[in-house]
């Protein structure tokens, strides 16, 4: 494994690819999640770019952080499985199944990340039934946005290790 040149450079490329995919999953997933949670009442681009709504930006950032953290937690188990499958160099046979598992792992990260975010927000909304958090944030209430963002990030930190263990099981370790 350590003296296989093709494995060295292919592993580097694959590692960079995984980081890139994690970022894409985090950003795209967060944008879709906000649209779903707000029932498309809030146009994120318009709020951030045109209205300079810091509250929306904070909440979006917390979503990206949480989902991105979940996606990044999948990278080590995926690389462990990568080296296990391709010890003597990358072979085409089995590569398709491996890529499928990688895709499954990323979707798992997105699913758990989205569930974590939704659960955090649900808890907050149940506690504060008299406040419509999204309307407040849309109206420019940065304080509510900060509370939401911190709650999402904290719950995400608790669930961070779950993703890693589940991906390890996915690859049969």
């Amino acid at each position: 494994m350590f003296k296989t040149p093709s494995l060295h450079w292919s592993s580097s490329l694959f590692y960079l690819f995984l980081i890139f995919v994690s970022v894409i999953v985090a950003v795209m997933g967060s944008l879709v999640l906000i649209r779903f949670l707000t029932r498309r009442r809030i146009d994120v681009k318009e709020e951030i770019v045109q209205n300079c709504n810091i509250g929306i930006a904070l909440v979006l950032a917390s979503f990206i952080w949480t989902i991105g953290l979940m996606a990044l937690e999948t990278i080590k188990p995926i690389m462990n499985a990568w080296y296990g499958f391709f010890t003597d160099g990358v072979q085409l046979a089995g590569l398709g199944a491996f890529i499928g598992k990688v895709f499954g792992a990323m979707m798992l990260a997105l699913l758990i990340g989205a569930f974590t975010v939704m659960m955090a927000l649900k808890v907050l909304m149940v506690i504060n039934r008299d406040i419509n958090e999204w309307e407040e944030i849309k109206g420019g209430n940065t304080a509510v946005a900060i509370v939401m963002a911190v709650t999402v990030i904290l719950v995400g930190l608790f669930f961070q290790s779950v993703v890693s263990y589940m991906v390890v099981n996915l690859f049969g370790v």
Binding site: S11, I78, M79, N80, W82, Y165, N169
Partner: protein
């Protein structure tokens, strides 16, 4: 009201779907090892454990091949293995006997009793893993050759992955504190770990270290990381190999960079560990023991 109901329904459906997906991935681990020693695994409690002289091993190599080999243990080796480490069980609390039995002092503190003014010395002992490693690294040569022959390993090829696959599939079980009337504190020296067919984290780590050293000219140093923190007590082997993308590593002053190697469960390649252990290593909650 209707919006609240539909929102709750969506949330509940999403929650149930996630639970279903999670339950699929928390299924019992697939592919139990086929590592089956040739004797019965039960030991009668009222009879002394027999020392085995011959043992057949079957294990699954990384490429899917089912391999088999037979190890023979001479009386002299087993006797030496038994007597080289540990003390008679009656002396288990005697520091001087323990120091002669393969332990070393890792911490020494003094305290003074305020009432009587008496000075008391507190000594913390630990197994001298380096001494055990050095003692058996030549004696494990024939067993390393046996594994290499079974794997059809070329002479110039790094045996790390093959030996690691073998050791990981040795059943994980805590050795007894008392073994053949000797206090061994739950640690099997490498010949005993192989002859008994099971071992815990430190037993298997030292076994792998000796197999690697006896078969292959070392590319770099070996070491042991004794992790102790947050309720976790674990030992992992440290090896010096190039760090590939995604791998964790530890840097030890005066010794260089090491990759951690997990020996207790199949599927962990060099440089990869359970996330809990990675966190503990990052926090420095371990003691580094070089093999030299």
């Amino acid at each position: 009201m209707k919006k609240n109901c539909s929102e709750s329904l969506v949330f509940s459906a999403f929650f149930l779907a996630t639970l279903l997906v999670m339950s699929l991935f928390f299924a019992p681990a697939k592919g139990d090892t086929v590592f089956k020693p040739s004797w019965s695994s039960g030991f009668p409690s009222d009879k002394p454990d027999p020392i085995f002289k011959k043992k057949a091993y079957r294990w699954l190599e990384a490429d899917g091949r089912l391999l088999e080999t037979i190890f023979i243990f001479t009386d002299e080796l087993l006797k030496e293995a038994l007597e080289s480490f540990g003390v008679q069980s009656v002396h288990r609390n005697n520091t001087s006997f323990l120091l002669r039995g393969g332990y070393k002092v890792v911490d020494r503190r003094h305290s003074i009793d305020r009432g009587s003014g008496q000075l008391t010395e507190h000594i913390r002992l630990c197994i001298d893993y380096n001494a055990v490693f050095l003692k058996f690294k030549e004696k494990m040569k024939s067993y390393a050759e046996g594994i290499a022959t079974a794997v059809s390993l070329q002479t110039d090829k790094d045996p790390l992955l093959s030996f690691l696959t073998f050791v990981q599939q040795i059943p994980y079980r805590q050795p007894p504190d008392i073994f053949h009337k000797r206090y061994i504190n739950g640690f099997f020296v490498p010949p005993l770990c192989l002859s008994e067919g099971y071992g815990d984290c430190d037993s298997k780590a030292v076994l792998l270290a000796d197999l690697l050293t006896s078969r292959h000219q070392q590319e770099g140093r070996l070491g042991l990381a004794l992790i102790d923190g947050k309720g976790v007590a674990h030992s992992i082997l440290l090896i010096q190999r190039p760090q590939l993308p995604g791998m964790s590593s530890i840097y030890a002053d005066n010794y260089g960079r090491f990759l951690p190697v997990e020996t207790t469960a199949p599927g962990w390649n060099p440089g990869f560990l359970s996330p809990i252990l990675v966190d503990l290593l990052k926090e420095g909650q371990f003691r580094f023991v070089p093999f030299e």
